[in-house]
C-alpha cells in the first residue's frame, strides 16, 4: 500500500509515473558569469580525464571547423570591421556564447560521424549544449594556440548580444544541468537508458491520458443515474489518476517534458535550418547555430507555458464527488460482499487530488464548490484511509493544516529504537563498542544528546544483552530525553519525578545528579511502580526513594523540592505509532479528562516546588500528546493559578508552542515551550514546557476556581469546553453590572461575600470536600 515509508526521506507529493522519470530539481544559480563559477576538485579532475579522451576526436572536428571558417573568412572580412565596435562587451559573456556556438557546431559535426551513444543522448535530451565545461576547458587550450581565430569568433559573438537576457537565463539553467551531468557521469549511462524506456512509456501514457479525458467528459454527460453509478470503478479511478499525474508533473518542472519533446522538435528544426541557410548564406555557420539556439529556446519556453496552462485546465477537471455519489459508493460496497473494504487506492487518489486543489485553491478548484466541501471530503477520506475516528482527525487537521498527510504517514512508521547510556556505569563510546561486538548496528542519536544511541538493527535482542542487564543502558525513546534535559538537575538537589513509571526519565535524572542529592520517584500505579524499582536497581542508582501516591496529593506529603518533573499521563496522541489504538478509542471526553488531571497534577507539582531554592525552583511539564488542550492550555491554566512564569526550555530544536490556537489566546511567552513531531524530528510527538516558580504564594482568587476545577466531573466535557466561553460571558456580565449600578450590582456583591466565606472553608488539595454536589453546596450557602 506504500503506507510505510522511511521517515527520513523527503516526502514528494504524488509519485506519478512521470515524476519518476524526472531528475531531482536543479536550482537556477544566480546570474553570474561562467568565469566565476567554481569547479570542485573532483570535477576538475574528471574534466581533465574526459578532455584527454576526447582530444583526439576534437582535433578532427577542429580541422573541419577551421577549413570552413577559412573559406568563409574572406567573404566576411567587411562585416567584421563594422562589428568590431561591439567588442567592448563583457568578455566572459561573449566567451560563453562562443562556447555554445562551438558546441552546436560540434554536435553538427558529430552527427555526421559515428557518435558515442552516450553523447548522442545527451545532445538529444538536453535542449542545451553538451558537456559545456569540458569543451570550455578544451577551448581554453585551443585558444592559446589559435589566438587569431579567437578574436574572430569573439567579434562574431558580439553581434549576437542583442538578446543577452534570454540567452544568459537559459544558459545558467543549462549550466546547472550540465554540472549534474558531469558529476553523475558514471550514473548517467544508467539513467539515460531508463529515460529512454520511460519515454517509450510516455508515449503510451499520453494516449491513455487522452482517452481518460474523453471518458471524463463522457461521464459528465451522463444524465441517467444508473449509468453513472453502475460504471466500472476502475475506469474512473484511472481517469482520476491520470489527472493527478498530469497535475503533479505540471506542478513540478517541465524540464523532462521539454527534454522529451526535444527529440522530435530537433528534426523539425533541421528542416527549418535548411530554409534559413538558403535565405542567408552570407552568415557564418556559428552565427546561424546561435540564432537557431535562441529560436529554439523561445519555442521551448512557449511550449512550456502552454503545457503549464493545459495542466491547470486538467486539474480543474477534478470533480469532487457529491454526497450522493459517496453514498452510492457505500451502497455498491454493501451490494458486493466480496468487496467489503472500501477501495483504498481510490481514496488515496482522492486525498491527493483534494490536497492538490487545496494547495492552490483559487486556481484549481471546481467552480461552485467552496473550501469547506473539499475539506470535508478530505477529512472523511483521511479517516477511512488511516482509520482514525472523526474527532481525532478533526483535531489533527486543526493542528496540522498543511502537514496533515506527513503527520499521519509518520504515525504509520515506527520510530527508531534508541538507547541511553547509563553514565554511572559506562561511557557511550565503550557501550557502543561493546554492542557493536555483539552485532548491533548503531549510531549516535544526534548532536543534541551525548548519551543517546540509535539502533538500526541488531542480531541479538537489544533489551536482553548482558550489557542491558548490567545496567549499562536503558531502552528509551529519544523524546523522553528532552524533558530531563530541560529540567537540567544539578548535583545535591532535591528532585521530584511526579509520574515516573517506568523510570526511564528518573534514571536519567539520577545519572545527571551522579547519585547525589535526593530523588523522589512517584507513581500512582501500584503495578508500574515495580518497574521503577527494577530499573533503578539495574542502573545502580542509590539516591532514589520510590513511593506510590496520587500525584495530586503529593504536596501534602513532601514539598520544597528544587526541581519537579511532571511527565503527565496523557492521551498519547503523539505516540500513535507505538499504540495505534489511540486512533480510534479517544474522543473529546478522554482528552478533556486527561487535561483535567493534568491541570491538577501541574498545580500540585508547582506547589511541591520551592521558589526560594538557591539552585532551582523549576518545574518541567511534558506530555507525549500533541493536543493543545493537554499542553498549552494546561500551562496557561497554571500561569493563571500560580506564581510561575515560562522560561526557555534549553532545547535548541523543536517547534515553538502555540501562542494562539483557534479561539484560544495564550500567554505570549508560550512560544518558549517546545513541541516535537514525528514527521519533523523523527521523535515521538512531544511537548516540553519549563516553568520557574517566583513565589510560594498562592494567588488569592484561585480558591474559587480551584473549587470549580477540582470538582470531580461527572460530565467533564461541558465544564472544560465552557471554560473560555463562560469567562467571556462573565466579562460581559461584569460589564453590565458596572454599567447599571442597580439591584443587580448589589446582588453580585452579596454573592462575592459568600464566596469569600467559602474561601476560608476550602483549602486547596483537600479534594474530598469538593466531592459534595454543587446543589447541596448551594443549600449550605443559603443556610449560612
Amino acid at each position: 500500500m506504500g503506507r510505510k515509508r522511511d521517515p527520513t526521506e523527503v516526502v514528494k507529493l504524488g509519485p506519478g509515473r512521470k515524476s519518476k522519470k524526472q531528475k531531482p530539481p536543479t536550482f537556477i544559480a544566480p546570474k553570474n558569469d561562467i568565469s566565476t563559477v567554481i569547479f570542485s576538485y573532483r570535477l576538475k579532475k574528471r574534466l581533465e580525464k574526459q578532455e584527454v579522451k576526447k582530444n583526439a576526436k576534437q582535433k578532427l572536428i577542429e580541422k573541419n571547423v577551421k577549413q570552413k571558417k577559412l573559406v568563409e573568412k574572406n567573404v566576411k572580412q567587411k562585416k567584421l570591421v563594422e562589428k568590431h565596435q561591439f567588442e567592448s562587451e563583457d568578455d566572459s559573456e561573449s566567451e560563453s556564447l562562443d562556447d555554445e556556438q562551438e558546441i552546436i557546431q560540434l554536435v553538427k559535426d558529430k552527427k555526421k560521424k559515428p557518435l558515442g551513444s552516450e553523447e548522442k543522448k545527451r545532445v538529444l535530451e538536453k535542449s542545451t549544449p553538451v558537456p559545456k565545461t569540458n569543451v570550455k576547458a578544451q577551448l581554453g587550450k585551443r585558444k592559446h594556440s589559435e589566438s587569431e581565430e579567437e578574436s574572430e569568433l569573439e567579434s562574431e559573438d558580439s553581434e549576437l548580444d542583442d538578446e543577452p537576457d534570454v540567452e544568459s537565463d537559459e544558459e545558467v539553467d543549462a549550466e546547472s544541468d550540465e554540472f549534474e551531468q558531469v558529476t553523475d557521469d558514471e550514473d548517467s549511462d544508467v539513467e539515460q537508458v531508463t529515460d529512454d524506456e520511460d519515454s517509450d512509456e510516455e508515449g503510451e501514457d499520453d494516449s491513455d491520458e487522452e482517452d481518460s479525458d474523453d471518458e471524463n467528459q463522457a461521464e459528465k454527460g451522463y444524465t441517467d443515474e444508473n449509468k453513472e453509478w453502475l460504471k466500472p470503478v476502475k475506469k474512473s479511478k484511472s481517469g482520476l489518476k491520470k489527472v493527478v499525474e498530469e497535475a503533479e508533473s505540471g506542478s513540478e518542472s517541465d524540464g523532462s517534458d521539454m527534454a522529451d519533446d526535444f527529440g522530435e522538435s530537433s528534426d523539425e528544426e533541421e528542416d527549418e535550418d535548411e530554409m534559413e541557410e538558403s535565405e542567408d548564406e552570407m552568415t557564418l555557420p556559428v552565427e546561424k547555430a546561435a540564432k537557431k539556439l535562441i529560436k529554439k529556446q523561445k519555442r521551448d519556453k512557449k511550449l512550456a507555458e502552454e503545457e503549464l496552462k493545459t495542466n491547470i485546465s486538467h486539474t480543474e477537471t477534478f470533480v469532487l464527488p457529491s454526497g450522493q455519489e459517496v453514498e452510492k459508493e457505500n451502497i455498491l460496497l454493501c451490494l458486493l460482499p466480496q468487496n467489503v473494504a472500501p477501495d483504498i487506492t481510490l481514496i488515496h487518489q482522492r486525498i491527493r487530488d483534494v490536497m492538490q486543489v487545496l494547495g492552490d485553491f483559487k486556481e484549481r478548484r471546481q467552480e461552485g464548490r467552496n473550501r469547506k466541501d473539499y475539506i470535508e471530503q478530505l477529512h472523511k477520506d483521511l479517516c477511512t484511509y488511516y482509520s482514525y475516528n472523526e474527532f481525532l482527525m478533526d483535531k489533527l487537521m486543526q493542528l496540522f493544516p498543511l502537514e496533515i498527510i506527513e503527520f499521519l504517514e509518520a504515525n504509520e512508521v515506527q520510530r527508531p529504537v534508541t538507547i541511553r547510556t547509563n553514565t554511572l556505569k559506562t561511557r557511550r563510546r565503550d557501550l557502543a563498542q561493546a554492542l557493536i561486538n555483539r552485532g548491533v548496528n548503531l549510531d549516535p542519536i544526534g548532536k543534541w544528546s551525548k548519551v543517546g544511541l540509535v539502533v538500526y538493527d541488531s542480531q541479538v535482542p537489544i533489551g536482553a544483552t548482558p550489557e542491558y542487564l548490567a545496567g549499562h543502558y536503558m531502552l528509551q525513546g529519544g523524546s523522553s530525553f528532552l524533558p530531563v534535559m530541560a529540567l537540567a538537575p544539578q548535583e545535591n538537589e532535591r528532585v521530584l519525578d511526579m509520574a515516573s513509571a517506568p523510570g526511564g526519565k528518573t534514571t536519567y535524572i539520577a545519572a545527571l545528579m551522579k547519585n547525589t542529592g535526593s530523588l523522589f520517584a512517584n507513581d500512582a500505579s501500584q503495578e508500574r511502580v515495580k518497574a521503577i524499582v527494577g530499573n533503578i536497581h539495574r542502573m545502580g542508582i542509590t539516591n532514589t526513594v520510590v513511593c506510590n501516591y496520587d500525584g495530586r496529593q503529593f504536596e501534602n506529603i513532601l514539598h520544597g523540592f528544587d526541581r519537579v518533573l511532571l511527565d503527565a499521563p496523557c492521551s498519547g496522541t503523539g505516540v500513535i505509532s507505538k499504540d495505534p489504538e489511540v486512533k480510534t478509542n479517544k474522543d473529546e471526553k478522554d482528552i478533556m479528562r486527561c487535561a483535567h488531571i493534568q491541570k491538577e497534577l501541574l498545580l500540585s507539582a508547582i506547589d511541591c516546588c520551592d521558589a526560594k531554592s538557591k539552585t532551582g525552583g523549576y518545574i518541567v511539564y511534558s506530555t507525549c500528546s500533541v493536543m493543545v488542550e493537554e499542553n498549552e492550555w494546561v500551562i496557561d491554566y497554571a500561569l493563571k493559578k500560580r506564581d510561575v512564569k515560562i522560561v526557555p526550555a534549553g532545547l535548541d530544536f523543536g517547534r515553538d508552542g502555540f501562542t494562539n490556537f483557534g479561539k484560544h489566546r495564550f500567554h505570549p511567552n508560550m512560544k518558549q515551550t517546545k513541541r516535537f513531531y514525528p514527521h519533523t524530528h523523527n521523535l515521538d510527538g512531544f511537548f516540553v514546557a519549563k516553568l520557574k516558580k517566583f513565589s510560594n504564594r498562592i494567588p488569592k482568587d484561585e480558591n474559587k476556581e480551584i473549587k470549580e476545577e477540582a470538582r470531580i466531573p461527572e460530565n467533564p466535557v461541558p465544564i472544560e469546553t465552557k471554560d473560555p466561553e463562560e469567562k467571556s460571558k462573565e466579562v460581559v456580565k461584569k460589564k453590565k453590572a458596572s454599567q447599571g449600578k442597580g439591584k443587580q450590582g448589589k446582588f453580585s456583591k452579596k454573592n462575592s461575600k459568600r464566596t469569600d466565606k467559602q474561601k476560608k472553608k476550602f483549602r486547596p488539595g483537600k479534594f474530598k470536600k469538593f466531592k459534595t454536589n454543587p446543589s447541596s453546596r448551594q443549600r449550605q450557602n443559603h443556610k449560612s
Binding site: V545, C547, N548
Partner: protein, 180 residues
C-alpha cells in the same frame, strides 16, 4: 521502616560476610556520607542517612523502595540476598569466578556454572564459599556458591557443576515483579 534488631543484624551480616568477608566495614564507614541498613516490609535497604530521613515522611504503605535493596528476610527468619545487592557485592567480593562467553548466557538464564564454562576461579576457594560470578570482560553477572573447591575443580569432568546459581542479572527481566 526501622533499624534492624540484633538478631536480624546477625543473620544478615553472617550472610553478607560469606561473599565480602570483613569488607562489610567498608559499607558502613564510607567517606562520602553516613550509610545505614534499614528494614522495611521484611526487606533490608542500604541507604544514605539523610535520604533515609527524608523518606521518613512517606507513609509505610506508600513507601516502595529507598536506596538499594539488599534482600529480604524469609518467614522462617533466614536472610536471602537479592540480585539488587550485586552492585555492592561485586567490588568487595573476596572470591570470584569468571565464566566463558558461551556459558555466560547459560548463567543468565538461571543455570549453574559447569566446569566447561569455567574461565577462571580465585585460588584457594573452599567448597560452599559464596562467590561473585563475572563474565570474561569483568562484567558482574550474579553470585552463587562454590560447589567444588579450586583444587577439586582441576580434576573434574566438564559437565560437573562448579558453582551453584543463586542470583543473576537476568532476573531483572525474568522476575521483575518479584525482584522486590
Amino acid at each position: 521502616m526501622r533499624p534492624l534488631t540484633d538478631d536480624e543484624t546477625k543473620t544478615f551480616f553472617e550472610k553478607l560476610s560469606k561473599y565480602i568477608g570483613e569488607n562489610i566495614k567498608l559499607l558502613l564507614d564510607r567517606p562520602d556520607g553516613a550509610y545505614c541498613f534499614r528494614l522495611h516490609k521484611d526487606r533490608v535497604f542500604y541507604v544514605r542517612e539523610d535520604l533515609m530521613k527524608k523518606a521518613g515522611h512517606i507513609a509505610r504503605k506508600n513507601l516502595i523502595s529507598l536506596g538499594t535493596s539488599f534482600g529480604k528476610f524469609t518467614k522462617t527468619g533466614l536472610f536471602r540476598l537479592h540480585i539488587t545487592a550485586l552492585d555492592f557485592l561485586a567490588p568487595y567480593a573476596k572470591y570470584k569466578i569468571w565464566v566463558k562467553p558461551n556459558a555466560e548466557q547459560q548463567f543468565l538464564y538461571g543455570h549453574h556454572v559447569m566446569k566447561s564454562g569455567l574461565g577462571r576461579i580465585t585460588e584457594n576457594t573452599t567448597q560452599y564459599q559464596g562467590l561473585v560470578v563475572y563474565s570474561m570482560n569483568d562484567l558482574p553477572l550474579g553470585f552463587g556458591v562454590a560447589a567444588k573447591s579450586t583444587a577439586e575443580c582441576r580434576h573434574t569432568d566438564p559437565m560437573t557443576v562448579i558453582a551453584f546459581h543463586q542470583a543473576d542479572i537476568g532476573e531483572y527481566i525474568r522476575s521483575e515483579d518479584t525482584i522486590l
